[in-house]
């Protein structure tokens, strides 16, 4: 697989530091599962965290800390190593955990024009959902408040920033107003996360928005 569009350093570093909202975290974990370039960069940022842990200062621990930890260990089983992703899976492991299975387990809801979505998590810090765009169909034109990350899992889409296929991530900010169009032929499945509600430029989607939480 040749991934062309990668995660930016700021996102990877925030994820390494443990300070990225869950919605974006799912896109990072899913992308990194498929992309060794970004896994490498993530681990380099985690190495920086290791130096911070090492140098930022120690705190006195309680007298029976070690004994208490040994008791905790005795009460636990060793972690089994998780099974690897089946080669045929469309969704990497972190995404399968949210969906409860692979692509065929998604509970889609229709939005408009053949576009379907499934919201995976939604909170004040943002939301993340799967989008299903029929081949040749367009997503409604939308601008953003905040940041939006979209990762392709199946098929491909194009917009002003280029072509995005499996594994590619597009990061759109406030200034971006774009119209992704799924390539003709294969339907496109994307994972999309935002830290603010999207706003659509067309009238009807704007009315629909509160109902569908798009």
């Amino acid at each position: 697989m040749s991934i062309v569009h990668h995660l930016p350093d700021t996102i990877l570093m925030a994820y390494a530091a443990g300070n990225l909202p869950e919605a974006f975290g799912l896109v990072v974990a899913t992308h990194v599962s498929l992309c060794d370039d970004c896994r490498t960069r993530l681990q380099a940022f985690e190495a920086v965290g290791g130096t911070v842990l090492e140098s930022a200062g120690a705190a006195a621990v309680s007298e029976d800390s070690l004994a208490a930890t040994m008791r905790l260990i005795a009460s636990r089983a060793k972690d089994p190593i998780k099974a690897r992703m089946p080669a045929s899976a469309v969704f990497p492991a972190p995404l399968r955990d949210y969906v409860g299975g692979d692509l065929d387990a998604v509970r889609w809801r229709s939005v408009a024009g053949g576009v379907r979505q499934a919201i995976l998590a939604s909170s004040r810090s943002g939301s993340v959902r799967l989008l299903y765009i029929p081949g040749g169909a367009a997503m409604p034109d939308h601008g953003h408040r905040g940041t939006e990350m979209t990762m392709v899992l199946k098929g491909a889409f194009r917009d002003a920033d280029g072509r995005f296929a499996r594994g590619d991530v597009e990061v759109a900010t406030e200034a971006t107003s774009h119209t992704p169009v799924a390539e003709a032929g294969e339907d496109c499945v994307c994972l999309a996360a935002t830290d603010a509600p999207l706003r659509f430029s067309g009238l009807i989607p704007r009315i629909v928005q509160p109902f569908f939480r798009i």
Partner: protein, 216 residues
């Protein structure tokens, strides 16, 4: 009370060195280097982890604990935890170091880095309701292990990174610490990027490529 660094002689006298390269089934021929007084801190921790993983060695774990437990607790308190919460989470983190010992890959991470990731995840669990999605694990199976030369080269690189970060201007180092204590959002973090990570990335990439090769 924090009793200070464990001396390497102390742990070494308990026969700590089991290398990651010697392999349980002897499938690798490279001989592990003996622990000597010139051994680096990082390689010392790698050897302790191998003892914990392969032999459930409590003395090796105690050595790790004396070094890392106070740092994990300090890290959690600087991230905003109360003393009591930090102590509780620290014990949980250190227990995880034991139970997940097989997941530590010394060709891609120093022990400090690996412990940091466990402490970071525990902090997220303790401080917010959000889940933290994790990438799929990539681990050496029971049959194969990273090459000892790769492990040593990586651990040296990790020490160089620590030195390079210690040499950064105070202002930038302070920003980095705040980022890792969880004080900066991803938009604020931009100023903290631009770190000297080129060579450590090459090492991690090499180790990942070898692991991928071993998995196929």
């Amino acid at each position: 009370m924090f009793t200070g660094e464990v001396s390497q002689a102390e742990a070494g006298s308990q026969g700590v060195p089991t290398s990651y390269a010697s392999g349980a089934n002897g499938s690798r021929t490279r001989k592990a280097p003996r622990l000597a007084s010139t051994e680096t801190d990082e390689m010392h921790w790698v050897a302790c982890m191998a003892r914990v993983r392969d032999h459930a060695d409590q003395a090796a774990f105690a050595a790790l604990f004396r070094h890392f437990a106070p740092r994990v607790k300090g890290f959690l308190m600087k991230s905003g935890a109360s003393e009591a919460l930090a102590e509780e989470c620290m014990q949980d983190v250190m227990a995880t170091v034991w139970t997940k010992a097989a997941l530590f890959d010394p060709a891609r991470a120093s022990l400090a880095t690996w412990v940091f990731t466990i402490a970071r995840n525990r902090r997220i669990d303790a401080f917010r309701r959000d889940r933290r999605p994790e990438p799929e694990d990539l681990t050496w199976g029971p049959e194969s292990e990273p090459d000892q030369a790769d492990v040593m080269a990586f651990q040296q690189e990790a020490e160089r990174l620590a030195a390079a970060i210690a040499d950064l201007p105070d202002k930038q180092r302070d920003l980095i610490e705040r980022a890792y204590f969880g004080d900066l959002s991803h938009s604020e973090i931009a100023e903290a990027t631009g770190l000297p990570l080129g060579t450590i990335k090459s090492r991690i990439r090499l180790a990942l490529d070898r692991l991928r090769h071993a998995l196929t």
